[in-house]
């Protein structure tokens, strides 16, 4: 009988689920990873609640890195940040498939395998969104000098963005607010970034911007308008590269 491992929608949660499934030494057909809250009930299954621990997650991470390599881990990690509810299952399937090929580190090249293909697709989607936000995210300077940005991504990409901005603006105090998942990435100048969730912030602070802020926003808006060549106007091309959903938080489109 098939066993379904039900876990939380976090990296630790899903890795814990994979840990349990892996331990049970099941075949691909006999096990499944499902996410709490996104569960589709099936007949003739055992449902197992996964106990989420840091230890299990670390073990799975080490297992992937050792046997599938750093590059495959990059893909798997990004796939797990996706908003797709089959992500855990796809990752487990890809890991099991890796056992069957001669060189496990080449697993992400095995694109004719449906689960590997799924991981690849999810990773590409998440990586793409993260890359887009690296460019399209806008900071505004609050009264207290903190740079504050709001985003509304489909996937949980804060852990992809934070290292990028921590390297780029190491001396600044900044925070990125993910409205979809109600999470914050917070960075204090000269220190390491942290992810904060489940805490209440006084939202009115985010509305008060510094005096210079409005002036620079105005300069930027003017720049974006002037840089376009009138004879070449092409709104469809613009739309293709910069979909509307990103524009809600971009100051030049206010």
């Amino acid at each position: 009988m098939k066993t379904v491992y039900v876990c939380n929608d976090t990296v630790t949660g899903i890795f814990s689920g994979i840990y349990d499934a892996w331990k049970a030494k099941k075949d691909e057909e006999d096990c499944k990873i499902a996410l709490r809250g996104m569960l589709e009930q099936e007949l003739f299954c055992d449902y197992v609640e996964v106990e989420e621990t840091e230890h299990k997650a670390a073990a799975v991470e080490a297992l992937i890195k050792r046997h599938l390599g750093q590059l495959a881990y990059w893909d798997i990690y990004h796939a797990i940040l996706s908003a797709d509810c089959q992500k855990g299952d796809a990752v487990l399937g890809a890991m099991l498939a890796a056992k069957k090929i001669p060189d496990s580190t080449k697993i992400m090249e095995h694109l004719s395998h449906p689960k590997v293909e799924k991981v690849f697709e999810l990773s590409r989607n998440v990586g793409g969104e993260a890359h887009n936000y690296k460019g399209f995210l806008r900071f505004r300077e609050l009264e207290n000098g903190v740079l504050y940005a709001e985003i509304e991504p489909k996937n949980q990409i804060l852990t992809c963005l934070a290292p990028h901005f921590a390297d780029r603006l190491p001396m600044e105090n900044w925070m990125i607010h993910d409205r979809t998942h109600k999470m914050f990435a917070v960075h204090e100048g000269g220190k390491r970034w942290v992810i904060v969730w489940g805490e209440q912030f006084d939202e009115t602070v985010f509305e008060k911007v510094s005096d210079r802020e409005k002036e620079y926003a105005r300069l930027w808006k003017g720049f974006c308008r002037t840089i376009a060549i009138k004879e070449r106007e092409n709104p469809r091309c613009q739309l293709q590269h910069l979909p509307l959903r990103y524009r809600t938080d971009m100051v030049e489109f206010f």
Partner: protein, 440 residues
């Protein structure tokens, strides 16, 4: 336009404010094409602002669909030259403005902090003399790197005719340098840019190339040696202002890639900004955007797909087909080698199949080692099947029963909706009539 200009002149009588200045010097810089921030990877050392990523990052897209990645401005739009195609030519009555190095630095830093931009693109009109202008650019970059500790991307123009020592110094501060070729041939340059010479343009280009080569060797010896133009150099030329054919342009581009080791050649469709007898007559058609697009497509074929210019075009057939991209066009003329078998064809052959890009070609080569590929797999890998299906087989089978005939494929590709302006597609295919003459 007139009233706007008048307003600007009036206000410039008093102190010109930052907003107006930025507006003028952006407007003057917008015809420069390159806005890439790719080609170099640099981490922040932990004390300054900024880093660079290999792939480059687009921060916004303007109404013309072009990416905004860098703060693209001129240092000044004053110019002693009289290039006939340029808005800033000395004869033109436009409002002139200049930044100070400090202003450029502050703007760059403040925009960068807010993640508006990936770095600075600094070009300039020629103020007083090429040397004087280049010194100002050097002073600006020096301040930005040293005083403001900016570690983001800088693309700078080398001014033709400036002292080579200055060019060399600027190269150590910038990530990418470019000297504009302006026009594809020396005759074109003579006709439209009387103060510029081919020699003055190619000299700094050669210097940058040689210095980059030396720098590569220095870096092998000393890992922390200062880096010279790490993202390579590029150039751009105007398309459609002079009567060159696409074949000539592609050959120029090819030799620039081979002999000068350029990273990119940019093509800029000629936009009518000045009325001048030496320029082509103004038509209602607007800039030759489709031609520019075809040139870019061919440019990619040169750089990533192992094509040579003479494979794509010939003396007798010197211009690109408006209906098909250069690769499709090439494939249609070489149907004898198609269809190719996806599970067997070598990498270079895969690259030549329309609908298969270099990334999907790599994926195909890797994936087929672990299992045979079918059309559904190809779709997921990223192959554009509606274009590729006429040219490939999977396990000896084609996707649909199709004929390997030029007419048949042409008709089907066109109805599959190549992205073309409506006026071109209109004549693309029509109902066959009894009275049509049959031509091959």
């Amino acid at each position: 336009m007139m009233t706007q200009r008048l307003q600007l002149t009036v206000s410039s009588l008093s102190e010109m404010n930052m907003y107006e200045k930025l507006n003028i010097l952006t407007d003057a810089a917008k015809y420069d094409v390159a806005c890439t921030s790719s080609g170099t990877e640099r981490k922040n050392d932990g004390t300054g602002t900024g880093n660079c990523t290999q792939s480059g990052i687009c921060h916004s897209f303007s109404a013309d669909g072009r990416c905004i990645s860098l703060l693209k401005i001129l240092f000044t739009n004053e110019c002693i030259y009289d290039c006939k195609y340029c808005v800033n030519r000395r004869n033109n009555d436009v409002v002139r403005a200049s930044f100070t190095p400090d202003e450029v630095c502050t703007l760059t830093m403040e925009f960068y902090r807010r993640n508006y931009i990936e770095g600075l693109f600094l070009s300039s009109g020629i103020l007083k003399s090429p040397d004087y202008t280049m010194e100002l650019i050097y002073a600006t970059l020096f301040q930005l790197r040293q005083k403001y500790n900016f570690q983001g991307y800088i693309h700078v123009k080398a001014i033709p005719g400036a002292d080579l020592e200055l060019v060399r110094r600027v190269g150590f501060l910038a990530d990418r340098m470019s000297v504009n070729l302006e026009l594809p041939t020396a005759e074109g340059l003579k006709a439209l840019a009387p103060h510029k010479t081919r020699k003055n343009i190619l000299m700094p280009m050669r210097l940058v190339q040689n210095r980059m080569e030396e720098n590569r060797q220095e870096l092998q010896l000393y890992r922390n040696a200062p880096r010279f133009v790490p993202a390579g150099q590029s150039t751009q030329m105007i398309i459609g202002a002079t009567p060159e054919t696409d074949y000539q342009i592609m050959q120029v581009a090819e030799s620039l890639y081979q002999k000068f080791e350029l990273k990119r050649v940019f093509y800029s469709a000629f936009v009518h900004v000045n009325d001048d007898a030496a320029l082509p007559a103004k038509t209602g058609d607007g800039p030759p955007l489709l031609r520019e697009h075809r040139l870019y497509q061919a440019d990619w074929l040169l750089r990533y797909y192992h094509f040579r210019a003479e494979e794509l075009l010939t003396e007798d057939n010197p211009n690109f087909n408006v209906l098909f991209d250069p690769k499709c066009n090439w494939a249609l003329r070489h149907l004898e080698i198609f269809p190719v078998e996806i599970n067997r064809a070598d990498y270079k052959m895969l690259l030549r199949v329309p609908g298969i890009g270099y990334k999907s070609a790599v994926r195909i080569v890797k994936a087929r080692k672990l299992g045979t590929l079918d059309f559904t797999d190809l779709k997921k890998i990223g192959v554009v099947l509606k274009r590729a299906l006429y040219f490939i087989t999977c396990n000896g089978r084609m996707m649909y029963p199709t004929k390997i005939e030029e007419d048949y494929i042409t008709r089907n590709l066109l109805s599959a909706g190549e992205k073309l302006p409506p006026d071109v597609t209109g004549m693309g295919y029509r109902q066959l009539s009894l009275f049509d003459t049959v031509t091959s």
